[in-house]
Symmetry: C2
Subunit: 672 residues, 2 copies
């Protein structure tokens, strides 16, 4: 009991810290009138998205809440609400502050680098600490409230997953519809630069950064954070008589929150003009403290260092995956340069070589993931007791996510800097301001690559650990691929990520198409718009993105929730296990493939823009722009959506395990 | 014993029939001098590829033969040689005749449609009947020779797989390197039409059709044919005391060969100007006869119709997959038209929507495959005895492949007609001749789509059945995904198709690049070439394609052979089972995705060329050409390579099962 109270207290401290960061930001100077006006457009656009999202959410949550109450139990339903609410709160708070931090970063950038880093990073840290704090507080409170009822607690994970679905998939569609729409008409047809205020889609594009990259990423990692904890809790509760298996992940998360606070403070206060160094220092300090704490906790709670080693295996795997991500997507390495070279022979070869790089890039991450998984399994003692090993895998995921606070902070810092640059451009500030924000933004991209590695790695490990929890819940001793229904589940599950990727890509295409039509219409119908004498109707574009994002995620989102239950009911618990396994395996592959292909195209274009192969305006550049445009939904919509998909389907299986256990396998009963 | 002799006799009849077809073709008029000259270039180019391939093969086979003799036993090694030899013979004979049938089809097309169909279809049928005949004769002979030693017989499958690797993967790289090279420089840079004799790569392009689509497809289906039989034999041998389980697949194959002869005769002799009707009639007659025979054999050998129903399930699934393939890739349906429409907004949207269509298109085939698999499992009595059900799955694959003779005939007919058109163009024959061959060729494409469905479906079912045989061979009662090594295998195996696809795509890219450089060089350095007064150096281009194809398939090919053994030795038999399962699952998905995306782009381009969205020369057409170029390696290299990959890895696992059983899992032994 005491341990839980300590953990909740640590989470509260994290939240209070976030609050202080936020009020610090609000006190900063919001710039001149023009800047404030633009910032208010972005802020209002972002809030409009959230409010419209909430209307959908209320309906969705009411349905799921009812289903849960009837099929599983009211405690699970309450936990579901709790999880959803915590995620919504984190997103709301984080995005609210991010859309205030952006303009203040622009203003600070007028005086130089140092203060601009501080504001942008603090803005990101609000999101980060909210995610981590609410995760620990929410989970801990419900855990005490329902006297450690693990089955009910899985509902918390389902709530987090549902919001992540809306925020990440909807946000991903939003941001790319706006981006592609703004680029295709603005840059290519009208020939006006990026972030030009004459472009009617420019505000939607900036809102998209917040919706997709701040709120979406936050909800994604909140889900992972909660999911990993739940998998560790479900397995740990069975394994240990005296609650050690439950105490350890809670205690670790608590230490993680505190370590992140220290990391943020150090990163924020580090002087100098090198934003990369500041972010790295903060991250390493937080990671280092957490590692030391993990060692102590492991020795103290379990009496050995096994748990520590399991954690370390996860961390090393995550870092290795991040490093590979960087190698495959950075202009400093051969892969991106190969794509840039192939741009010389036109868009077709650019696409082929980008796809090849993306597919290649799955190799090492998968190997690292497997090594990390096996290492944490055997480090925890899986050779003696398989359950113990699976608990080790769950701990590896918890370890990777224990510094979520700062990971999200670093990640959300990117779009804030990006926005700051956009505001500088639109407000017509001197070029030197844009230079500072560009420098801030460039750093964000590199650190984001590493964060993506962690996001993918932890999602996979979380899903695998939850998979083991599910097997436990439906009382499966083996998940046997020689059984035809399990094999059938595997084949069907493996197909889902492909269909999901197709759906989200088409959603972006259709939404971007609407956006293009609207922008063209405004250029045509608003006199003086291109000359800069009339004002564009930004709101209309924001509306289109918002509507498209929310409408077009309903079908894929609904499928992700319904299909696992359907497979379980028809083909049985074993088939559902196969289904989940298949979805996780191809989901991870497709996620890596799409994220890295997209990243590589993006940087190949930037590499050419840096002067290689003829530079800007050359035919190679034109080809690279095609690659980049294809890569946009790859890396920012469909790829990240995979993380959500696999976690959501796994947690649905886990929550509905009691139903599957009682009524599953109707088809088989019919046959026999 | 008698049954086997009858089967072998049926196979011999098939071969004799092929011989008569071949000599009938040779007797036809080979056209005027210019036509004969062009045809001889193609013929020599194709033979040059084969001869160079054989040099690689000798080394490769010597190594594998030695390894097999040492590790497994001399009988398996002999069977390996037998399988390889039969495949090589079928490929050699089939391609030799195909490169004679092409020019004779052109000549016949001068007199109209009817005779041209007859020659082209007969040419394809030689390949088809050789594949089926040699399959039955080879397998049957070794089966008697080694007194039904099933373990040794798996070597036959390994031999077939190895040749398929060279023929299909090498051939796929060959044909697309030549195609892309010829198109990019010829059509786009030099502005000369397709199949123009001034283009130095034009002969290589025509050779490629034979190498990739005749020999490659033949070897692919030979492998499936043999693989499916072997999986049925290995399971059948254990299940039935009196050999029924072995007799049935042999007898069915024999009936299939005879049915195909009848089908070919009817298709060949059908009068009229409608090639589609001729091909359909032949295929349906052959299929119908085989079905009736299957019913009789099932009742006669097993005393019930279970085997018949299992077969039927496979056939229906195969046809359904083919139908879906057509819907997703034909210009008459919405998917291709959607891609064509998106071409209006440029190459990027064309690529995105094509990729989305390809990914979507995995859904129904996977569902049909699962339904077919479950239906054949339960039809055979899998609910009572799982082994029996797995045998049913193997029979479903055997059923899908029993009419391989005519499937390959229809498929090989396509490139022969294509070649015939090329020869007409290059020889400067009147436009009416080209019209006839174009009509022949168009039909080939539609039937080829259905054949692709069968190829993918049967490859998957064969691999799944072989997977069950493997489990049997390594004495695994369960393949348990809760064991971390099995899960590790699954993750690693699933990654292989992505890497394999990347490697083959890059191989095409690199080879096409060499080809482009060479064509550019010839245009630059040979005076009078573009004016048509000087002759191009065709041989150099053929050489480049040949060298690239064979060199660049060594690494991916080697990996496919070595990796399964490595995984088994390190992580054990269970991990290898997971590895195979993962590879099969994503292999099938990637195969369908790439084949259909490529086919859809191809037909979107043709649809626009038919006048939609501005027609030829419009900006939409330019964008569609980009899609088509990306689709080329998708549909003709990487996609089909997946079939080979999954079957080869599965059969390697099966052949090396004794080694894995004795020495597998070194890593695990180290841990414990």
């Amino acid at each position: 009991m005491n341990y839980f109270m300590y953990s909740i207290a640590a989470g509260m401290i994290g939240l209070i810290f976030a609050y202080f960061l936020a009020s610090g930001i609000t006190k900063e100077h919001p710039g001149n009138e023009r800047m404030r006006e633009i910032a208010s457009y972005i802020h209002e656009g972002a809030m409009a998205f959230l409010h419209r999202e909430y209307r959908y959410l209320v309906v969705f949550m009411a349905i799921v809440f009812s289903v849960l109450t009837i099929c599983i139990g009211w405690k699970t339903a309450i936990c579901f609400l709790g999880g959803a609410l915590c995620s919504v709160l984190a997103g709301y708070f984080g995005m609210r502050v991010a859309t205030k931090a952006n303009v203040r970063t622009t203003e600070a950038a007028r005086q130089g680098m140092s203060k601009a880093i501080k504001i942008a990073f603090s803005g990101g840290a609000v999101m980060g600490m909210s995610v981590a704090g609410l995760g620990v507080v929410g989970l801990g409170t419900l855990f005490i409230l329902f006297s450690q009822d693990i089955t009910a607690i899985t509902g918390f994970g389902l709530g987090a997953s549902s919001i992540a679905l809306f925020a990440r998939v909807g946000g991903g569609i939003y941001t790319k519809a706006a981006d592609v729409g703004a680029d295709l008409v603005g840059k290519i047809e009208a020939g006006i630069p990026e972030d030009d205020p004459r472009n009617p889609a420019v505000i939607a594009d900036n809102v998209g950064d917040n919706v997709g990259d701040v709120a979406g990423m936050g909800a994604d990692l909140f889900e992972s954070y909660v999911g990993a904890s739940i998998s560790a809790l479900t397995l740990g509760a069975i394994l240990y008589q005296h609650g050690e298996g439950i105490i350890f992940p809670f205690a670790l998360s608590a230490c993680g929150v505190l370590a992140c606070i220290i990391g943020v403070l150090i990163g924020r206060e580090s002087k100098g003009d090198n934003p990369q160094a500041a972010l790295n220092l903060g991250t390493y300090v937080a990671g280092g403290i957490t590692m030391v704490a993990a060692g102590f906790l492991s020795q103290m709670i379990f009496g050995d260092l096994n748990a520590f080693w399991a954690l370390t295996a996860g961390l090393v795997a995550g870092m290795a995956i991040g490093k590979v991500t960087e190698i495959y997507t950075s202009g400093d390495h051969s892969h991106v340069r190969k794509i840039a070279k192939s741009a010389e022979t036109g868009p077709a070869t650019t696409i082929i070589s980008g796809l090849a790089v993306g597919m290649y890039s799955t190799m090492w991450p998968m190997i690292f993931m497997v090594v990390g998984m096996l290492a944490s399994f055997y480090a925890m003692g899986g050779a003696q007791d398989a359950m113990l090993g699976l608990y080790g895998i769950a701990l590896a995921a918890v370890g990777m996510l224990s510094t979520t606070g700062i990971t999200v902070a670093v990640d959300a810092y990117g779009p804030i800097s990006d926005n700051a640059g956009g505001i500088a451009e639109m407000a017509g500030l001197p070029h030197s301001v844009r230079e500072v924000t560009d420098k801030l933004d460039a750093v964000g991209n590199t650190t984001a690559a590493i964060a993506k590695g962690f996001a993918i790695g932890s999602a996979a490990l979380t899903a695998l650990a939850l998979f083991a929890s599910y097997a436990q819940a439906v009382e499966l001793k083996t998940i046997n691929l020689l059984e035809p229904t399990t094999l059938a589940g595997l084949l069907l599950g493996a197909m889902i990520p492909f269909v999901f990727a197709a759906m989200t890509m088409e959603a972006v295409g259709a939404a971007a198409f609407e956006m293009i039509e609207e922008v063209r219409r405004q250029f045509r119908e608003i006199p003086g718009l291109l000359e800069g004498t009339a004002k564009a109707d930004y709101k209309k574009c924001v509306d289109i993105s918002t509507g498209a994002a929310l409408n077009k995620m309903l079908v894929p989102g609904g499928l992700a929730v319904v299909l696992p239950v359907l497979v379980g009911l028809l083909l049985g618990a074993g088939a559902l296990a196969g289904f989940i396994a298949g979805a996780v395996v191809t989901g991870v592959l497709v996620a890596i493939f799409m994220a890295n292909a997209g990243g590589a195209w993006d940087n190949a274009k930037k590499y050419i823009e840096g002067g290689a192969h003829g530079g800007k305006g050359s035919s190679a550049h034109m080809a690279a722009v095609v690659g980049d445009t294809v890569g946009d939904p790859f890396k920012d919509t469909s790829g990240p959506a995979m993380n959500i998909l696999i976690k959501l389907m796994t947690i649905v299986a886990l929550v509905f395990a009691p139903v599957i256990l009682s009524y599953g396998g109707l088809f088989l009963k019919l046959i026999k």
